[in-house]
Amino acid sequence: MVNTFVAYVIALNKMIPLDWRLTLVCLGPFPVILMLSRIIVRALFHQTKVVQTQLSTLSSRVQENLSGVAVVRAYVMQAREEAKFSELNDAFVGANIKLITLRGALQATMTLLAGIGTLGVLFVGANRVIDGTLTLGQFVEFNGYVVALAFPTIGLGWVFSVWNRGIAAFDRVFEVLNAPVDIADLEDAQPLPKPDGPRGHIALRNVDFSYVPDTPTLRNINMDIPAGSKVAIVGKTGSGKTTVARLMCRLWDPDRGTVEIDGVPFTKLSLRETRSEIGVVPQDPFLFSMSIGDNVRFGLDALEDDPSLRRAVPTTSLFSDAVVSQETRIDEALEIAGMAGELSSFSAGLETLVGERGVTLSGGQKQRVTIARALVMDPRILILDDALASVDTQTETAILDHLDRIMSGRTSVIITHRFNALARVDKIFVMDEGQVVEVGTHDELLRAGGIYAELCERQKLQEELEA
């Protein structure tokens, strides 16, 4: 741009004294053509956006297909997927061809621009040479200037075009940058209180929540989970158990009511500090494509490297108060999670690489690695969201035995639809259609003969049938 400006200043300085009318004739078309190119460029801008949108639709289609590849196979939906892809593919190509047409028009305009200046020099300049107002040398010189200016001007047109492409992309980047952060610390966020004695009291008070407006997922939930207790949340699929877990670690905020941790509403607590004290083992055991050891120490990196987290790196053994190395703690966590035995059968041990999304491990193995990942963090609250669904009942019992030992003085929340483990917990919340319908111990609930008793009975029957 600056280059072009300088070129113009210098050239005009020479051209105008030579013959200002000729200058006007030769350079007159330049702005007109530039205006024309502006119009094309604007259309280009629009079309580029269309193409980019089409491309991202196409990409997300591919992504969806690839991540759901097992489902696509199982339901023999390949042909339908291919047809759908073909449709998007055609639309994308159509949009691209439109874009090409515009680009071609822009290029043609630029070619016109390059030729038209010289044409002006020829047409008008020749007459001047004949009538003697312009020498032949000046005529040549003039043509030199016009040619010299044509290229930077064409460049200017391209700059417009590239600039617009950039702006179109920038717009989209800004959509991300401007997306509101809806879960953030208040300005006067409090540190998590450190009560003496057991820690990890959780209370949900009159909580309403919906993912989609007007379709409530949770209605008026009240739960009181004393520090150091072990509770379970049970209920049918879709009853809202996982949503409760998500509110407990503030992945979402409730629409109404409060979630309190150790007596303070979560929204008033420092978000990251509090989260670092909550170990969540999610339903979907997501692992990163790194070694098993790296996956287990995933959260420790943050405690070690992030000065904004005022939490010391835990150094004591998971089984006792003895100070041990991080390696030992990782081994312990894997042992508690019931993964140590299988790990030793992998030739690379802790260094075994987990393929993307942990695909080389079985579902149960993945779940146990994610449990170990939560345990090394020494959380004051441990939430197992159906985290034992893929392990067999014996392993489940063994893991829960271990957890009993190390979670004393802390709180555990076990979300499950299996009833074997429930005799050992202090309190059970039974959920149905987004509400807590029953609360009590295993025995109390069985005696009450409500939904819990019925679900229990049904599961027992099913197990007998399968056996």
């Binding site: 892809f85 030729g115 004949i130 070690e304 080389t360």
Partner: protein, 369 residues
Amino acid sequence: MSGDRRSKMGSSFTDQPISDATELSIVRRLWAYLRPYKGMFLASLLLLPLITTVDLLQPYLLQVAIDQYLIPKNLDGFGWLVAGFAGCVLLQAALQFAQVWVMQTAGQRALRDLRQDAFEHVQSLSVSFFQRQPLGRLMARLTTDIESLQEALASGMVTMIGDLITLSAIVVILLVKDWRFALASFVIVPFLLAVTAVIRHFMRKAFREVRAKIARLYSHLQESVTGMPVIQLYVRERVSAEEYRGINADYRDANFMAIRFDALLYAVVETVGSVTVGVIIWYGSGAVMRDVVTLGVLVAFIEYMQKFFIPIRDLAQKYNFLQSALVASERVFELLDEDERLPETTTPNHCPPSRCTSCSKDVSFVLAG
């Protein structure tokens, strides 16, 4: 694991080295996709020499204008010449438009077929293939790699042929016009070719580096986005951001390197261009004085030489696009050659309509380890 060792997201991502398939074999496979549209391709290729002709006619007309009309100061029939010049400009614009449009439309359609083929091929691969392949890499094959082919196409990679025609035409025209003068003008060209060859070598390296870095960037990004809830729950946002900062910086540095060579090339060509025009004027003005060369020829020479350097500069760039297009298509073809499917019998038994039970006999299965 020592305390200073950090786990790195996406660290297991390595791009496979490119196999040693020859460029020719890649081009041959690409041609298979172009074949259905060969009529369009041929038409657009035939337009290239036409465009060169009308482009290179313009300096010639200027020369005629000077030598036959302006110097004798006689404008009889000069209108025809101006009209001819105007015709050349218009025709050049129109032909260029037609050429680009036809070529790119054909190219787009060929790429659509390739994209569809790749997608359908992937649908036929067995689930175990997907267990070994990171999703990010597969995504790249099906989208960004085909995209970079498209970019190469859009950059006018194919017009390289046109550029080559233009270059050789200019050389021939100048030699025919005045071989001594032409040789004087070209004296610096071998030097230019040598320098561009050297720069191009480094540029190719730099671009390969850029590609490697962006693959790493993408894989980190992909994992971060899919695993975002886990990152947030383990308060690893800042650590991950820090990691990303490093990867991002590497990518930027790789780009800086590539841009540096790009700028260097541009500067060299520009300088050589100016020097050449200087040589032409120095040699030419003497020749004009001695009446060996007409003024018109001198002006035409300057114009031709200016037209000469633009394709030279662009050739280097287009060559780079060609390179990355080849790398990209090679990767896509590798995916197309992937042949891991569950064996299917050619004489399938049909599943009986009712009581369809499947029982496994003596099945053993190893998932990992």
